[in-house]
Amino acid sequence: MQGFAANLVLGAEGGLLIGDMIVQLVFFLGLLALLGKFAWGPLMKMMKDREDYVANEINTAEKSREEAHRMQREASDELKATRQDAQKIIEDARKTAGEQERDILDSARAEAERLKESARQEIEQEKEKAVQALKDQVAGMSVMIASKVIEKELSEKDQEALINQYINEAGEKR
């Protein structure tokens, strides 16, 4: 027996065969199930994975960018602070150096003053000593000269007069 629509025009080749229909149904549903399991499922999962991956990567990149930005800002702040520190240190050093210079100059000046003073004192002392020595010598020489003069030039007559004078003086005082 042919299919029920065998005589229809569109069934010119055998019409609507129930068997074909059942086979088609079974094949198609089977294909649907198998492809769903072995092809579309994994493929769609992969596409979903990629979507997630890309979204994730974008998020991470965004975060890294922000992080980098933040770090850059920190670094530049740090750099600025360091520069200021260095400036301060240099300034301090300059100031200290200036003070030291002044100190050294002062102390050198004081030392020089002191040296000058002590030299002057020494000179004074030496001078005094020399004057003293001169005085002593002059005195000695005076005595010597005096004694020599007295020895040589005191004549008899003068001696007499002198003696008389001493005697007179001595008598008057008593």
């Binding site: 065969l17 068997g19 074909d20 059942i22 149904l25 198609f28 992969m46």
Partner: protein, 243 residues
């Protein structure tokens, strides 16, 4: 030729059941088409990489293509459900259409190798499956009450038309595909018949044959696309809230 003097390998009264007849050519071609689709599908999805290459790219394009069809009919949250159906329908119908374009195989006087979609029974089966599925999902996704209300919307007197529409949808969906592919095959076999009449016939047939094969390829693609498109249209009528 297949419409003229070639016969279909019909196997009648299978298992002693009176109404159970098979067209063995159809069975063979359905099997071949299913096998090709299955092998292509599985081959394309082995060694999948996160960075797609070659065949995987093509399959992903196909998925996006079907996604686009579904997306133009319903919102993606519901439509996601029908993606495997759309993909399988498209791949199967396209491959089935192509089988008949590449060649028609005749053994003796029996037509063995042709498009399975050049048979009304097969296309109507697919169409019926689609329409039945649309009713099933209509009930499943929106509930029996909403589903039933869909028949009297927007006006109650449309009920008979709505019911007729379901059958006409099925018929047009199936017969459109069948008609296009069958017509293509008839013309191809006529051209083959012309080509075998002699040298002059061969020369005369060669150019239109190439042209017609190209056109049939185009038709095969378009019909697969239309079938899936209409499937999704009918689905969205049943499952979308605003219809």
């Amino acid at each position: 030729m297949n419409s003229l003097n070639h016969e279909a390998p019909i196997y009648e009264d299978a298992f002693g059941i009176g109404w159970l007849d098979f067209n063995l050519s159809n069975v063979l071609m359905m099997f071949v088409a299913s096998l090709i689709v299955f092998i292509l599908g599985v081959a394309a999805t082995r060694n999948m990489k996160r960075y797609p290459k070659g065949f995987q790219n093509f399959m992903e394009w196909l998925i996006d293509f079907i996604k686009g069809i579904i997306g133009s009919n319903m919102d993606w949250r519901t439509g996601r459900l029908f993606l495997p159906l759309g993909l399988t329908l498209f791949a199967y119908i396209f491959v089935a259409n192509m089988l008949g374009v590449v060649t028609n195989g005749v053994v003796g006087h029996t037509l063995w190798w042709k498009s399975p979609t050049a048979d009304p029974g097969i296309t109507l089966t697919l169409a019926t499956l689609v329409v039945v599925l649309s009713h099933y999902y209509g009930v499943k996704l929106r509930g029996g009450k909403e589903y039933a209300k869909g028949f009297v919307r927007p006006l109650p007197f449309l009920l008979p038309f709505k019911i007729i529409e379901e059958f006409s949808n099925t018929l047009t969906l199936g017969l459109r595909l069948y008609g296009n592919i069958y017509a293509g095959e008839i013309l191809l076999s006529l051209l083959v018949g012309l080509a075998t009449t002699g040298f002059g016939g061969f020369i005369g047939a060669a150019v239109p044959m190439v042209a017609w094969m190209g056109f049939s390829t185009f038709i095969g693609f378009i019909q697969a696309f239309i079938f899936v498109m209409l499937t999704m249209v009918y689905m969205s009528h049943k499952v979308s809230e605003d219809h």
